[in-house]
């Protein structure tokens, strides 16, 4: 699989009160095009920090982040914003839709940011609304949608600009099991249809089981990286945490 994102020797520490916490220690990993990868591990293992660094919304203390062959570690913030706008999509645990915008407008927003003309935006949003099966709720605001519907809108928004990768931080954590299944199935479908790379963090064994690659994190380091497709890997007991 063609290399898309590579991390080399990533270290990241945080200050928690007065004590320093190591979130990532010497993490090196590659992600290829079209992957459907779960970053798994218990709470505090560094999953979100790793996703943030891959998504260029956080910077490592040391190490290199290479996206599509370009080292973006020292890239200025404004250029990183441009990179995120054009090449990356995000899905959040809490959906993070813009409350004052309708489903249609939420999906349209990244396209507007990227400078798409109005007619193309409208066509693309309609296409996505149909694809995530939420077209009848296009005029609804987030608070008028169920959790599953919101996450569908969030998925459509993440995919709107045709990103090289969609980064999803615990995308099913706030959903019931049935809705989680539906959302994951949708992400899988989109991954297979469009070849978009999905990298998502989770500690839910049922979700991990759907990934075709699982990266296990433990105490900020990669414990194991397994290509499990098409087999199903049983979840270890230590990843089933609340």
């Amino acid at each position: 699989m063609t290399e898309l994102i590579r991390l080399e020797g990533i270290k990241k520490q945080y200050l928690l009160g007065r004590s320093e916490v190591t979130a990532l220690r010497d993490v090196s990993i590659e992600f290829g095009r079209g992957e459907f990868t779960a970053i798994a591990g218990p709470s505090g293992s560094g999953k979100t920090t790793l996703l943030n660094i891959i998504g260029c919304i956080d910077k490592p203390d040391s190490g290199r982040v290479i996206i599509e062959g370009h080292d973006v570690t020292a890239t200025p913030l404004a250029a990183l914003a441009s990179l995120r706008r054009r090449r990356l999509g995000f899905i959040f645990q809490g959906f993070n839709l813009i409350e004052v915008l309708t489903a249609h407008e939420n999906i349209e927003y990244p396209l507007w940011l990227a400078g798409w003309p109005a007619e193309r935006r409208r066509e693309r949003v309609n296409e996505l609304l149909m694809r995530v099966r939420i077209e009848s709720h296009r005029g609804h605001r987030p608070r008028e949608l169920s959790g599953g519907q919101r996450q569908r809108v969030a998925i459509a928004r993440a995919l709107a600009g045709g990103p090289i990768a969609v980064l999803a931080d615990e995308p099913t954590a706030n959903l019931d099991s049935q809705t989680s299944e539906e959302v994951l199935s949708l992400m899988q479908e989109l991954n297979l249809e469009q070849g978009t790379t999905f990298i998502f963090s989770t500690h839910d064994p049922r979700i991990i089981g759907k990934a075709n690659r699982v990266v296990w994190l433990k105490d900020g380091a990669i414990d194991e990286s397994l290509d499990i497709s098409p087999m199903r890997r049983p979840a270890p007991a230590d990843c089933v945490t609340a």
């Binding site: 919304i57 914003a81 706008r85 993070n96 004052v100 940011l113």
Partner: protein, 408 residues
């Protein structure tokens, strides 16, 4: 346009808080419009009253009168006022002129004498110029001279001599040659200028009677009445050219240069208005800054999301600044409407104010609708709200994405 869209909808996100902020703005706008309109009404009223109670729009003097002190009465008076008046009355916007003599002396009823400030006037010409005198009893003077000389006394002066219409009094003063002279006058009326200090000393007699009393053919000045007060400066300039052309050693003074009381009132009320404006500005800034800061705190995660999607930090600033601007515009427009209705209500209610210091009568409140004040108030509200949103906006734009996304 998208940012404007988001900013507009955010105004209605927390309706109660927006309503409170809007109420402060509306209250501030109404306060500015009503108080400013009241000041303007007072200024115009006082200006026109000042002009029409004898000051005129312009006064023409012999130049030396304005430069030197007189050793004798009318030493620097106007000699040939009829010819000068005729030339002035040919100037555009000039309605008419009237001559006046200012003099002072003692007014006696035989038992008691008091100091007076007299004015010799041409009542028929003053009437033609639209000048008015508030006669509280009796009537104004006619053209009678000599033994039939008439006088009207200001209310305070009449009271000090216990004089009333029909009484005979004697004016004593010095002539232009320095001799003592007297003139018997018949009181035909009592008037009021509504300025207590002036009312205690003023009296008016016919110009010719004054000339007889002072033994002169001169006058102190020519008072010029215009069709509109706004033409004062233009006519003043035209008269300066006229005098230069004829080589007349004359000079003009505008009403505003002579109306000391008017200037004091305007200065005082403008200072009060500016003070009120500053209070309202501070009130609106504090209220709206707090609102905007709360909006930032409530939307930290949303700001993090916007930034994560590649929204530029300046665009985040723009959203909050636009929110301030829109709030200022919408609430400001509401304020203008409320101010307009308030003016209509107050004017219809005919509320009376007590007599101001130095005045003898109360007056009905009249609020003028001043378009410039409406526009200025709206602009002030928009600028104030925009300024109030800058600090919260900058704070929002400087959030670290990771921290903002983790905010609960």
């Amino acid at each position: 346009m998208k940012l404007m869209h988001i900013a507009y909808r955010n105004l209605f996100r927390n309706r109660r808080r927006s309503l409170i902020t809007a109420s402060v703005i509306v209250f501030g706008a109404v306060a500015l419009i009503v108080s400013g309109g009241f000041c303007e009404s007072m200024f115009v009223g006082l200006r026109e009253e000042t002009i029409r109670t004898g000051l005129g729009h312009l006064q023409v003097y012999q130049a030396q009168f304005l430069e030197k002190d007189e050793d004798k009465p009318l030493q620097y008076g106007l000699d040939d006022c009829v010819r000068v008046a005729a030339a002035i009355e040919k100037t555009p916007y000039v309605r008419k002129t009237t001559a006046q003599i200012d003099f002072m002396g003692l007014l006696s009823n035989g038992d008691k004498s008091v100091v007076f400030l007299g004015t010799g006037v041409q009542p028929d010409r003053e009437q033609a110029m639209g000048f008015s005198l508030d006669i509280t009893s009796g009537s104004d003077i006619s053209t009678g001279v000599g033994e039939d000389a008439e006088a009207v006394l200001a209310i305070g002066l009449a009271k000090s001599l216990n004089a009333k219409a029909g009484d005979s009094l004697t004016l004593l003063t010095t002539t232009t040659s320095g001799a003592l002279n007297g003139l018997d006058v018949k009181v035909v009326g009592i008037f009021s200028t509504h300025i207590a200090e002036y009312d205690s000393k003023a009296l008016r007699i016919n110009l010719q009677s004054a000339q007889i009393l002072l033994d002169t053919t001169k006058v102190s000045k020519l008072v010029v009445g215009l069709d509109r007060t706004e033409h004062t400066d233009a006519v003043s300039a035209q008269l300066a050219s006229l005098f230069a052309e004829h080589r007349w050693p004359l000079a003009t003074r505008r009403w505003v240069d002579l109306a000391t009381f008017y200037r004091q009132v305007v200065t005082l009320f403008r200072a009060i208005f500016i003070f009120l404006g500053i209070i309202i500005f501070v009130l609106v800034v504090l209220s709206s800054s707090n609102t905007m800061m709360m909006a930032v705190m409530e939307r930290v995660r949303e700001i993090g999301t916007l930034l994560a999607f590649g929204t530029a930090r300046r665009q985040v600033v723009t959203i909050f600044v636009l929110e301030g601007l829109l709030m200022g515009l919408l609430a400001g427009l509401l304020g203008l409407g409320a101010g307009y209705l308030s003016i209509l209500g107050i004017n219809a209610a005919e509320i009376y104010m007590p007599a101001p210091p130095g005045s003898t009568d109360g007056f009905a409140i009249v609020i003028t609708k001043v378009p410039a004040l409406f526009a200025g108030t709206l602009a002030l509200m928009m600028v104030t709200l925009t300024m109030s949103s800058i600090v919260p906006a900058l704070r929002a734009s400087r959030l670290k994405i990771v921290d903002a996304l983790g905010h609960s």
